[in-house]
């Protein structure tokens, strides 16, 4: 029951590289399916957010160097050479992979320490994988554990009590420029989950006016109506840029949605009043050179790392408590994993012994013609009872008592001892 994890995140890769290896939901499903159909992994799960792309999996029985194969797949899927990815990838196995996922779900590995957004992203990614049958017992248990970690961390510690997220970082940045936001206006381009976070924080901070613009108008209407904002038609994007002091973009697009020329026109029309552009899209939504225009401030997700450090300091004190929850949950997972392995071994042992018993009885009872059917049944029952006492009862105790398993250390010895075929639980 090996677990492998290959991935890259804001800690190891630049935004440019992350853009290249990002998975859309459709791509995530497609990649997972290919990994399984090629026999690289038996269970797969792709977690792709603004800040990370990670492939979790349980390798097949016959796949040698599964981690290497996943790396090669990742590179080839995004039409890159493995060397382009090499230095930016992290590789974790088994309990290290579990720990990494639990830390991700707890928000300890996020750009903003303790942010809650990632838990929703993990939940969504898992649900999609589950719906498409890409996960199996191991990843199911692992991701359910991760979701439990996320919930516990947010309810039992203060790391999640303050409204911290990438979106909040952007709002805090706006306050560095404009002070109180109750006299300022914001334009939100994109109506997804990240945009909603931004709108929520802006609303909390008393933003004066809010406009939402989205390709799918219904989503914009829904978001704007919940926060007392207005909706702007996507066709009016250029004209609408003159109005806000804060522009937040979070749309899925391979090309910048806001070009330098568009921002230049807007700045001229608004008399060079300062504009803060928070680009939360990956790939980026605002042309990088738009940040050079006079009196504009442009931040992308990487730039928000500054804020991360601030928040980390404020939340450092909670980390030990979060780590303790993670550790507890890891032990719980490892306990389950060991139990599942034991169960599989015991199942194999039971089947093997049953076969041996049948063969033994057939061979020995053949020369005992004088025995009635009732006697034969009695002998068979006695033999089964004997086997249970000698082998299966202790084995069942092994399943129920973790301490015994720890003493045995390696159940593979049991397999070898009884010549058991290796099968996945």
């Amino acid at each position: 029951m090996e677990i492998v994890l290959i991935g890259l995140s804001h800690r190891t890769a630049t935004v440019e590289l992350r853009e290249r290896v990002a998975f859309s939901p459709e791509q995530a499903r497609e990649a997972a399916e290919q990994l399984r159909s090629r026999g690289i992994l038996e269970e797969t799960m792709v977690l792709s957010t603004c800040n990370r792309s990670e492939l979790y999996g349980v390798p097949g029985e016959l796949s040698a160097d599964s981690a290497g194969a996943v790396e090669l797949f990742l590179a080839s899927y995004h039409q890159m050479s493995p060397s382009e990815l090499g230095g930016s990838l992290y590789r974790h196995r088994d309990s290290h992979a579990v720990r990494h996922l639990f830390r991700v779900a707890a928000g300890l590995d996020s750009l903003l320490l303790g942010e809650a957004e990632i838990l929703g992203q993990v939940r969504d990614a898992y649900q999609i994988a589950l719906d498409h049958g890409e996960t199996g017992p191991v990843l199911n248990r692992m991701f359910q554990g991760a979701l439990e970690v996320g919930k516990r961390v947010r309810s039992e510690t203060e790391i999640g009590t303050r409204p911290v997220s990438v979106a909040f970082a952007g709002v805090k940045l706006a306050e560095r420029i404009f002070g109180k936001l109750n006299n300022h206006r914001a334009l939100i381009i994109g109506a997804g989950a990240t945009s909603e976070q931004v709108v929520r924080h802006l609303s909390d901070r008393g933003i004066k006016q809010l406009r939402v613009l989205n390709r799918t108008a219904e989503h914009a209407v829904d978001l704007a109506s919940r926060f007392g904002g207005e909706v702007v038609a996507w066709e009016n994007l250029t004209a609408s840029l003159e109005w806000p002091d804060l522009i937040v973009t979070s749309v899925s697009s391979n090309e910048p949605v806001l070009t330098r020329a568009m921002i230049e026109r807007a700045m001229a029309a608004r008399g060079n009043r300062a504009v803060l552009m928070i680009d939360l899209g990956v790939p980026r939504n605002v042309a990088a050179d738009a940040g050079n225009i006079y009196n504009t401030y442009l931040y992308n997700v990487d730039d928000l790392s500054e804020i991360v450090e601030q928040n980390k300091k404020a939340r450092q004190a909670e980390i030990p408590r979060v780590e303790s929850i993670i550790e507890e949950q890891i032990q719980k997972f490892l306990h389950w994993q060991a139990g599942a392995t034991t169960g599989a071994v015991l199942g194999e042992l039971r089947a093997k012994l049953a076969g041996e018993r049948e063969a033994f009885l057939k061979e020995r009872l053949a020369s005992m013609q004088n025995l009635s059917e009732a006697d034969r049944a009695q002998v068979s029952a006695m033999l089964e009872d004997f086997m249970n006492r000698v082998v299966l009862d202790p084995a069942e105790r092994l399943r129920g008592v973790p301490e015994l398993r720890r003493k045995l250390q390696n159940l593979e010895a049991l397999r070898d001892l009884f010549h058991l075929h290796r099968e996945k639980p």
């Binding site: 560095r176 002070g179 060079n272 300062a274 931040y299 601030q310």
Partner: protein
């Protein structure tokens, strides 16, 4: 410099500066309130030091350069305290207090001694001098605020705010604080100049005598009024206005350090 008021003022200003710096590095209620309290105490003792000096030399403090410098330091500290109270920001303190401290120190290093009385006397003269020095103090604060604005703007645009950057006032607040200071300065200077013209008329029977200090002061007023208007235009908004504000302060320095003592007949202290 053995006057106990001077020494006590020095200690309190220094303590205030240390606490302001502490508060900027690690914001705390104790450091913040302590800094303001020390500043208020320093201002009170500084006032007593000014009174004491006046008694010693039988002249108002602004009759000589060092006295006027001390008054400048006092008004600078008082103006800053007013801005701090209005905008509820202490993060500018670490940058204003060093100026207060240095100017105060310089003004009290030499022993005070009897000086020749200036040609103008009376309440209108006091009003004129006090308002003009208040204007210089306000412009000095706008100078400091503009520097902070440019630094902060650079940090924000360069995505390198750092720990301290998060504790400076927001750009918008810095801009408003600068404008408030400049408005205070312009109003004080305008009224002070009118008082000055009346004094000149009393002494010479004319409102205009072409004194270089007066010309420099008019230039200062024009420069800062230009700032007020330019900072609201598309071309001047933001960092350009702050750059202009910094540039304008050199007119103030010229007027205070060169035009007054060396070029003017009326405004020199000897």
């Amino acid at each position: 410099m053995t006057n106990p008021y001077v020494l006590a003022t020095l200690v309190l200003y220094a303590a205030s500066l240390a606490l302001y710096i502490w508060n900027l590095r690690e914001p705390s209620r104790f450091a913040g309130i302590g800094a303001t309290a020390c500043l208020i105490g320093g201002l009170a003792l500084h006032y007593l030091a000014l009174l004491d000096r006046s008694r010693q030399i039988h002249a108002v403090p602004y009759d000589d350069l060092f006295g006027s410098l001390s008054l400048f330091a006092w008004l600078l500290a008082a103006t800053y305290l007013g801005l701090e109270a209005i905008h509820r920001r202490r993060s500018v303190g670490p940058f204003v207090l060093p100026i207060v401290l240095v100017v105060f120190l310089v003004s009290h290093l030499p022993e005070a001694h009897a000086i020749k009385a200036p040609p103008a006397q009376g309440p209108l003269f006091a009003f004129h001098v006090t308002l003009n020095i208040l204007a210089y103090s306000a412009f000095a604060i706008s100078f400091v605020l503009s520097i902070i604005y440019l630094v902060q703007n650079r940090r924000l645009r360069g995505h390198k705010l750092g720990v301290v950057g998060w504790r400076f006032p927001p750009l918008d607040v810095l801009e408003r604080m600068t404008r408030s200071s400049v408005l205070i300065g312009c109003a004080s200077l305008a009224v002070g100049m009118v008082a000055g013209f009346i004094l000149v008329h009393r002494l010479q029977g004319t409102y205009w005598d072409g004194d270089p200090k007066v010309i420099a002061t008019i230039l200062i007023l024009v420069a800062y009024v230009s700032y007020i208007f330019w900072s609201r235009t598309a071309a001047g908004r933001g960092s350009r206005a702050s750059a202009l504000c910094i540039f304008n302060f050199f007119f103030v320095l010229f007027s205070y350090i060169i035009a007054g003592p060396f070029l003017s007949h009326f405004h020199r202290y000897y």
